[in-house]
C-alpha cells in the first residue's frame, strides 16, 4: 500500500514539476528581451518545430505514435506528456479526440506545433428503457478495463498494472455512467481469513489507483474474494499469478 501511494505521489510530483517547468519556460520568454537590451548578444536563430501523429485517427483504446523534430530549441514540452527530448517519439492512448500541443523554446524565442488525433468512440447504443446506456457490452469493457495482477503477498500496483489502470481510467472517463465492481483475489497459498483481508487490500489498491487517475470513487465498489474463488487450481507459479489479481467487472 505504502509503495503504491508513494509511486502515485511520485507521479503527481513529476507532473507538477513538468507544469512548473512549462511555466518557467513562459517566464523565460518574457525575460529575454530585457537581457538583450543590456548585453546585445549575437542574434539567435528562432527555433522551428514539427509534430506529427501516426495514425491521425484511431479507435478508442488504440494508440498513436507522436513524432516531433525541432531545431534551435533547448526545451521542448508537449502538453499532457511534459518535458521531452528536442527530437523524439512517444506513444499515446487518448480517450477522446485530442489536440497535441508542442512548445519548443530556444535562445531565439519559442515556437509551437500542433497535431490533432481523432478518437473514434464506439457508437453508443440507445436503449429504449432508462438506465445506464452508454455501455456497449462486457466485451468492450473487458477489452479496455483489464484486470491487474499482483506480486506475491503484495498489494502494490506494478508498472504493468499502472498501464492497465491508465487505460481503464480513460475508458471509464469516456463512459461516465459505468459502475465498476473490483474483486480482490489471492492465490490459494496462505490462510483463508488473512487472504480475504489481503484481497481487500489489493482491490482497494486498484480502486485508489483509478481514483487517482480521475475516476469518481462513488462509481467503484470493492469486494474481496480472497482465495474463495479461483481462476485456476494448478499448484504452479503461472496459476498462482493468475489468481493474484484485482478483477474489474461492470457493477449492475
Amino acid at each position: 500500500m505504502n509503495l503504491t501511494q508513494r509511486s502515485f505521489r511520485t507521479f503527481t510530483q513529476i507532473a507538477a514539476l513538468a507544469t512548473i517547468a512549462g511555466l518557467a519556460g513562459c517566464h523565460h520568454k518574457t525575460a529575454a528581451p530585457v537581457d538583450t537590451s543590456q548585453y546585445t548578444p549575437p542574434p539567435a536563430t528562432a527555433p522551428t518545430a514539427t509534430l506529427t501523429a501516426d495514425p491521425v485517427a484511431i479507435d478508442l483504446g488504440q494508440s498513436v505514435v507522436l513524432n516531433w523534430r525541432t531545431q534551435n530549441a533547448t526545451a521542448v514540452t508537449i502538453d499532457g506528456i511534459g518535458s521531452v527530448n528536442v527530437n523524439g517519439t512517444s506513444t499515446a492512448s487518448p480517450s477522446t479526440s485530442t489536440n497535441f500541443h508542442l512548445t519548443a523554446t530556444g535562445p531565439g524565442g519559442s515556437t509551437e506545433a500542433n497535431v490533432r488525433v481523432t478518437v473514434r468512440i464506439p457508437e453508443v447504443p440507445t436503449a429504449p428503457v432508462a438506465g445506464p446506456t452508454d455501455m456497449t457490452d462486457d466485451a468492450l469493457f473487458h477489452q479496455n478495463v483489464q484486470d491487474v495482477f499482483f506480486d506475491y503477498d503484495s498489494a502494490d500496483i506494478r508498472a504493468d498494472a499502472a498501464t492497465s489502470i491508465t487505460q481503464a481510467a480513460a475508458f471509464l472517463t469516456a463512459h461516465p455512467s459505468a459502475k465498476v465492481l473490483i474483486g480482490g483475489y489471492c492465490d490459494d497459498r496462505g490462510s483463508a481469513e488473512y487472504n480475504l483481508a489481503l484481497g481487500e487490500t489489493r482491490a482497494n489498491a486498484a480502486k485508489d489507483a483509478l481514483v487517482t487517475a480521475g475516476v469518481a470513487a462513488s462509481r467503484l465498489r470493492v469486494i474481496s474474494y480472497g482465495k474463495e474463488k479461483q481462476f485456476c487450481t494448478d499448484e504452479d507459479d503461472a496459476c498462482w499469478q493468475q489468481n493474484r489479481r484485482a478483477q474489474f467487472s461492470l457493477d449492475r
Binding site: 490459494d188 483463508a192 481469513e193 488473512y194 483481508a197 481487500e200 487490500t201 482497494n204 474481496s224 474463495e228
Partner: protein, 456 residues
C-alpha cells in the same frame, strides 16, 4: 548434555503445558530424554491413570439392545481413550466378563495382570418404554473396602444419537472425577465450514466427528464460524451482494437474527468469553482494521489504525482485556497482542507467515498456524504452534502432516486442539492433544475447514 539447544529451549513450555493439562502426560519418548533437567513432581506431569472400560451388559438379547450396547461401548471407549488423561486397557487385555451390577463385579479380575487397571468403568444397558436406560459405575480397584467412585443412571430416547450422548455424559463424569476437576469435553461440539457445489455452509458435529449436520442454508460462501460462550448464537462472515458481512444465527430459534451491515469487508468475528462483545475485522474505513462492538453489533469502536490487513482477532478468555490478532502491517502476516482498547501492541512472532490465533482457556497460550520459512520456492510447511504468551517461547505441535495446517481451536478444557489440514486438493478436520500427540482425523470427504470448538 544429550539435548540440542532448540529442544532445551522448548522444555519449560512443554512442562507448563503438562501442568496446564494436569494429568496429560508427556510423550514417553520425550520423557526418556529427560536426563539432565530438574523437574518437580508436578512439572513432569502425573502418570496417566490406567483405566478399563468393561463391555456394558445388555439386559436383553434382541438386536436393538445389543446394537445400542455396542454403540455405547465404542463411544465410551473412544471418549476415555481420547481424553488425554488415561492409559486405557486395550480390549484384548480386558477380562471377558461384562459385570452389569456391582454384585457381579469382581474387582480382582481387573486389577490383576494383564489388565492392571487402577479404575474400571462398567454397567448395564437396557431398552424399555422407548428409552435407552444405562446404569454405570466407576470402581477404584485399589480400594477393596469401598471401591465405588461413581454410580450414575441415564435414560434417554432410544436412538443412536441419544445413546452416544449417554456415553459422552458418563465419560465426562469419569473425566471430571479423575481429571483434576476439569470438566470433560465429550459433550462439546465443533462448528466448521463445509464446501458443497461452490458454496460453503456452516456445519456442526460432536467433538468426536459424529452427528454432523448442516446449520446454515445461505447458498453463498460462509466462513469463520464462532459459537457464543452460551452456545446460543453462531456468528460468522458471509458473502452477500454487497460483500462480506458478519451475520448471526440463533441456535435457539433455528434461524438468522439481525446483525448490522456496516459496509466494507467484514470478517472473522470473535466473542468475548462473557458473551457481551464481538471483535471482528472491518474495512469500512477502507483498510481492514479490528473493531469491537457489543453482542448485537452496535457501539462499534475501532482499535487498530495501521495500514495493512488486520484480521482474525481473538480475546483473552480469562480477562477479556486483551486481544490477539494477525496483522500484515510489516509485510507478511504476524501474530500480535494488544489491550482491548488498542494500546500495548506487542508483536509475538519474529517472521514467517503466522495466521489464525486461538487463545487457550487459561489465558496463558496462543495456538496459531505458522509457516516459519514462507516465501517463493520455500518448502512451505504450515504447522500448528503453541506460544506461551509471557515468554514468547513456542513449540511446534504438528509435523509432516502432508498438508497446510490452519485454524487451530482450543477445547474448553485446554487439553485438546482441533485444526484443519489442507493438502491443496482436499481439506479435513483433525484433533490432537495440546502437546501434539493423539492426532486423529474427525471428518472424511475432504471438504471441511475452519473448525471452532464450542465453549462447553
Amino acid at each position: 548434555m544429550t539435548l540440542h539447544t532448540p529442544a532445551r529451549r522448548q522444555w519449560p513450555l512443554l512442562a507448563a503445558l503438562a501442568l496446564l493439562a494436569l494429568a496429560t502426560a508427556l510423550p514417553r519418548t520425550a520423557r526418556a530424554q529427560d536426563d539432565d533437567h530438574v523437574f518437580t513432581s508436578t512439572s513432569t506431569g502425573v502418570d496417566r491413570i490406567r483405566i478399563a472400560a468393561a463391555g456394558f451388559k445388555p439386559l436383553a438379547t434382541d438386536a436393538t439392545t445389543t446394537g445400542y450396547k455396542h454403540l455405547f461401548d465404542n463411544t465410551l471407549y473412544s471418549d476415555l481413550n481420547s481424553a488425554g488423561i488415561f492409559d486405557l486397557v486395550s480390549q484384548s487385555l480386558a477380562p471377558m466378563a461384562t459385570p452389569g451390577t456391582p454384585a457381579e463385579m469382581v474387582v480382582a479380575q481387573w486389577s490383576a495382570a494383564p489388565a492392571n487397571a487402577a479404575m474400571v468403568a462398567f454397567g448395564s444397558l437396557n431398552v424399555t418404554g422407548g428409552n435407552v436406560v444405562v446404569n454405570g459405575w466407576l470402581y477404584d480397584t485399589k480400594n477393596t473396602v469401598d471401591p465405588k467412585v461413581l454410580g450414575q443412571q441415564y435414560s434417554e430416547p432410544a436412538s443412536d444419537e441419544d445413546t452416544r450422548h449417554i456415553a459422552h455424559e458418563f465419560a465426562d463424569e469419569i473425566i471430571l472425577r479423575l481429571g483434576g476437576g476439569l470438566p470433560g469435553i465429550a459433550e462439546t461440539h465443533i462448528f466448521y465450514v463445509s464446501a458443497h457445489g461452490g458454496n460453503k455452509e456452516i456445519w456442526e458435529m460432536d467433538y468426536d466427528g459424529q452427528s454432523a449436520h448442516q446449520i446454515t442454508h445461505l447458498d453463498t460462501i460462509t466462513l469463520s464460524p464462532r459459537i457464543s460462550p452460551d452456545g446460543n448464537r453462531l456468528a460468522f462472515a458471509s458473502l452477500g451482494h454487497d460483500g462480506w458481512n458478519i451475520r448471526v444465527f440463533s441456535m435457539l430459534l433455528g434461524r438468522m437474527v439481525s446483525f448490522p451491515a456496516i459496509g466494507g469487508t467484514n470478517l472473522s468475528p470473535a466473542w468475548s468469553s462473557d458473551g457481551r462483545s464481538i471483535a471482528f475485522s472491518s474495512s469500512r474505513s477502507g483498510d481492514p482494521e479490528i473493531y469491537i462492538g457489543d453482542e448485537a453489533g452496535n457501539n462499534l469502536r475501532r482499535v487498530t489504525a495501521y495500514r495493512g490487513p488486520d484480521v482474525s482477532p481473538v480475546w483473552n478468555p480469562r480477562t477479556n482485556s486483551q486481544i490477539a490478532w494477525i496483522s500484515g502491517r510489516t509485510g507478511l502476516p504476524q501474530l500480535y497482542i494488544m489491550d482491548s482498547d488498542g494500546t500495548n501492541v506487542q508483536r509475538m512472532t519474529d517472521g514467517g507467515y503466522a495466521t489464525s490465533p486461538s487463545w487457550s482457556p487459561n489465558g496463558q497460550f496462543l495456538a496459531f498456524a505458522w509457516d516459519r520459512k514462507y516465501g517463493p520456492g520455500a518448502p512451505g510447511g504450515q504447522d500448528i504452534y503453541v506460544m506461551e504468551i509471557a515468554t514468547k517461547r513456542w513449540i511446534q505441535l504438528t509435523h509432516d502432516t502432508g498438508g497446510r495446517c490452519d485454524f487451530p481451536s482450543w477445547s474448553p478444557d485446554g487439553r485438546h486442539i482441533v485444526f484443519e489440514s489442507d493438502s491443496g486438493k482436499s481439506s479435513d478436520i483433525w484433533t490432537m492433544l495440546a502437546d501434539g500427540t493423539g492426532r486423529h482425523k474427525l471428518t472424511v470427504g475432504g471438504t471441511s475447514t475452519m473448525p471452532n470448538w464450542s465453549w462447553k
